[in-house]
Symmetry: C2
Subunit: 168 residues, 2 copies
């Protein structure tokens, strides 16, 4: 289930994120303000702005996939300056995630996962996914959403959640 | 894994949420303002305030557990007026979640899950957990965090994520 709770769902959430950014872009166009205002917006002076929230959401998704499987992730320079560039970054991560298959995660559960700032400490793959990557992914997508909403962009819970595979 | 990705992690996140509320309470005490100001704070005029974010986070967790297993959830009246009452609501959900065992979720994956507003449509248990309950839980905890942070409460990512089971 590690594949479904990370890759499949991260892909969906990044696509939702791209669509709420588009809503921000359209709002800027309609109200005739510079969309960069939204990209630089933040909820607290010492919190990351919208651009950085999107960059970290992308990195959380790609590095989770890469760390759990050992497959190299695409490199991004953190130099996006426009909505279009951010959407293109999201798209590149969505494409990367799209290359994974459930079987790539066969050994992921007990894989030792670490990152530079953990100074040699590690989590097991399942712990990393459930307690670190997933909460972080949702944190940054929700914060991006909150920044847009706080700035008057007409986004709602359905934009955040995306389509549900309802059955009758 | 449904038990670990919902119950175990929801319990942890609700405990983290209780602690960030406490940070808000202390900030109100230190700066000598009425903590109700924080409880009524919101990020947009048409978004739910802090109190409601906490109530929905609690309900998302308890109803996910209840819908996936068929075990009745505690009833809450949505009448909390203070930080203490909100923390007590969180505690009651944490206690409820603490009564579940992994085995309670043996049939959860393919269970048909519905809720009143879905007008008869349903999701399978795994879809409901991964695409609905989990993103919603994180959404409301993150939004509660964002409201506090936006109002100058000294909360950081570590408060949101909680302790990691690091190994050396």
């Amino acid at each position: 289930m590690l594949y479904e709770i990370t890759i499949t769902q991260f892909k969906k959430m990044l696509e939702n994120l791209s669509r709420i950014l588009e809503k921000g872009e359209k709002q800027a166009e309609t109200k005739k303000f510079d969309p960069t205002v939204l990209l630089n917006a933040r909820l607290a002076p010492d919190q990351f702005n919208l651009t950085k929230q999107v960059q970290i959401a992308c990195d959380t998704a790609k590095l989770c996939a890469s760390r759990l499987t050992g497959k190299e992730a695409p490199i991004h320079e953190d130099n996006e300056k426009t909505m279009a560039e951010l959407k293109s970054r999201i798209a590149s991560v969505v494409t990367y995630l799209g290359n994974f298959k459930s079987g790539d995660f066969d050994d992921a559960e007990n894989k030792r996962v670490s990152q530079p700032r953990w100074e040699g400490k590690y989590l097991l793959g399942e712990e990393f996914a459930i307690q670190h990557a997933i909460p972080n992914l949702y944190f940054h997508v929700t914060t991006a959403y909150a920044i847009l909403r706080h700035n008057g962009v007409d986004v709602g819970k359905k934009d955040y959640l995306g389509e549900m595979p309802f059955k009758k």
